[in-house]
Symmetry: C2
């Protein structure tokens, strides 16, 4: 039975997951804490920007028509009736023959329809009650940002599910969002199974290795915006294992296990997910590495059983877990963001039946051509190549190896877009 | 005097900053908390990986020479003298005529020099004391990862200054780094100056705008791995301003101000940094936006005075502040990571004297060609274009506009590499 698993294509596996998931819990956080969170409500402009006629220059606000013909040889002299620092208001109307000293960003007074920059003027008597010579003619509207020039009232600015970066934070601040409704960081429990595993702080022992997958997954989960928790090992006994995993699925938003999923004598996870109230979504994928990747859903929450092989665990996370987490945080387009590039390798072997996802590194040629080169001289350099990789090169199944300059598709790692 | 500033090239400005900076404080954190921190010590392999002869398959460990000529029609029968789960040790030597059932990842016993995978065997009597028929001949070394195959002892794995992502976390775990020495997150104080500024929670008022730059900078600083603090406004009075800024420079690792640096009547920061014990590094850059960007250093700490214009503030941060922060966290190559791309725009205007840094978005053509297109139909869409941009397009000074397909250099935003 365990040997009769049907290998599913990765795209189909991802679709099975995503169609069953709903966006998760939301919470409200102060804007100053909202970086890298995912917005759970839209932002629209309740005011135009600018919301007043804004001066784009330090200079003098005046009536453009009065500057007709002005030049250094033939300046136009105007009475200076005020000074408008940024944030202040000139509470009268500008009358003919008048000019007002104005700062960049300040509100242009009624009656004025242009700003002449300071460099094109010659103050004669300083300040209010003084006068200024205008040395250059101005067109109507010169150096004035009209109301709504940047953003019109009602404009949709941010959609739910959008990640809050610097630009989003600036827009939220502009429109007074001191508190922001965001998706809660998914709490994810990580189990590592395998009697060969030592804790990181333990000395090495014959036949044993330290549990590095858990720490790799912690980093991937944090990178994806989650709050991961190390949940220890899954008990060896089936009923205890089932209790531990279902309890974690009740307590957390998602559960990930690494190890114990290959078709060996000690595969407890497969047995675990056959006799319970969850649904098995898939237990074999047509991909290398990571073909034994398993996913189940129970009461709306996912259980991923990733391989114990570091590279397979890593790839399974990037291709299947990361998009699921994005959807939990309101993501709309949760695809892998693959893009085309040319292969930089003399030869990249194909698998007869399965798609290979080869760890690679992107470079850009002198004319802007994207290249992707496999990292690691040897496929067994499993963990070291994870350090060096910034993408996965997609190698479709085939009989012949891919050669230099082959057009391939490349998946950026860590949720980066390009 | 204020009008006689000499515009410095951005590269020269960055060099002036970086040559005066030293890497900052370090601290030790648990590995589980080390994601996105910067390593402050090297990691080298104190053991080879694997540190024992590891089986790459589920199957039977045996002597390769004894399988010569084995096939389905002519199997070789061996006594099964044990079973080696992952993490266990077979404490005897494998003798001629014997095979041991072995799991993927387990230690191959002395005396065995090949592993035949399960699919190529036929167990005759189960378990220890039983027997197995080998259906296929094996070469010496088959399915065994020799000691040091992945990593040789002494290999340098991670250098100080390296960001800890999933691959780095896995390597640190493999070599027992339960506690990791990292650079402390720089604590950065952000002042926003300008009497036009309202707090985010305040209602809009005539001539006033909400303080969005501070929140944009908070996000940029968090993205760069810092702990930012909103320090409020700088007092209007020179001596109080100087006290506030120097006190912040004593308390924090860096101080950033936004606003109050343009050549207007109310430029307090310029005056502040002329009569003190700090050194002015530059106060005008040959770039647009952001030409009034100012940097000073005092007692080894930087004071950046960024423009109050959102786009200029943003660009000043990306080009000058971010590399400085990287250096504080041990970064060795702290360049901007610019790469070539083709311009996707009918026309992009140049500045006669200054380099323009135009907010843009990257796309990839069907054959892997990188393109960069300016975002925002209008240059005045200042904050909205920050939302949409993922790069800065470098436009060198010139007389003619750049045209479609011009080869340009592009700087990725947010510290991303490509």
């Amino acid at each position: 039975m365990k040997f009769q698993r049907t290998a599913l294509q990765v795209e189909e596996a991802a679709a099975r997951i995503l169609e069953r998931l709903q966006p998760g819990r939301t919470e409200t956080v102060p804007l100053a804490e909202a970086w890298n969170r995912y917005l759970a409500e839209p932002l629209a402009a309740d005011q135009p920007v600018p919301h007043f006629r804004r001066s784009g220059m330090d200079g003098y606000a005046l009536r453009a028509e009065e500057t007709a013909g002005a030049s250094e040889d033939s300046p136009v002299r105007l009475a200076v009736t005020g000074i408008i620092p940024c944030g202040s208001i000139y509470d009268r109307r500008l009358e003919p023959g008048q000019a007002v000293r104005i700062m960049t960003g300040a509100a242009v007074p009624d009656g004025a329809d242009a700003v002449v920059r300071l460099e094109d003027t010659l103050p004669e008597e300083e300040g209010e009650g003084g006068a200024v010579s205008i040395l250059r003619s101005a067109k109507t509207g010169a150096n004035i940002s009209e109301i709504g020039l940047e953003i019109v009232q009602g404009e949709k600015l941010l959609e739910p599910g959008r990640r809050i970066g610097p630009g989003e934070a600036a827009l939220l601040a502009m429109f007074g969002a001191a508190q922001v409704k965001v998706y809660a960081r998914p709490r994810v429990a990580v189990f590592a199974t395998g009697s060969e595993l030592l804790a990181v702080e333990e000395p090495l022992a014959p036949g044993k290795i330290r549990n590095s997958n858990s720490y790799m997954l912690l980093a991937q989960l944090r990178e994806a915006g989650c709050e991961p928790v190390l949940a220890g090992a899954i008990p060896d006994e089936l009923e205890l294992a089932r209790q531990a995993v279902t309890a974690a699925m009740d307590d957390y938003d998602m559960v990930i296990t690494t190890g114990g999923v290959s078709v060996g004598d000690y595969d407890i996870l497969y047995d675990l997910t056959t006799g319970w109230d969850g649904e098995l979504l898939f237990n074999k994928l047509a991909m290398r590495p990571g073909s034994p990747t398993t996913a189940s859903i129970r009461r709306g929450k996912l259980l991923f059983a990733l391989s114990g092989n570091p590279a397979a665990c890593f790839v399974g996370f990037e291709l299947l877990v990361r998009p699921a987490l994005r959807k939990l945080m309101g993501g709309v387009d949760v695809g892998l963001g693959a893009f085309p590039a040319r292969l930089k390798a003399d030869r990249l072997k194909t698998d007869a039946k399965f798609t290979r996802f080869v760890r690679g590194v992107r470079t850009v040629g002198p004319e802007g051509q994207l290249w992707a080169a496999p990292v690691g001289v040897d496929a067994s350099s499993i963990t070291v190549s994870l350090r060096d990789a910034d993408c996965l090169i997609v190698v479709p199944p085939g009989d012949a190896p891919l050669v230099q300059e082959t057009l391939v598709r490349v998946i950026p790692l860590g949720g980066s877009r390009l």
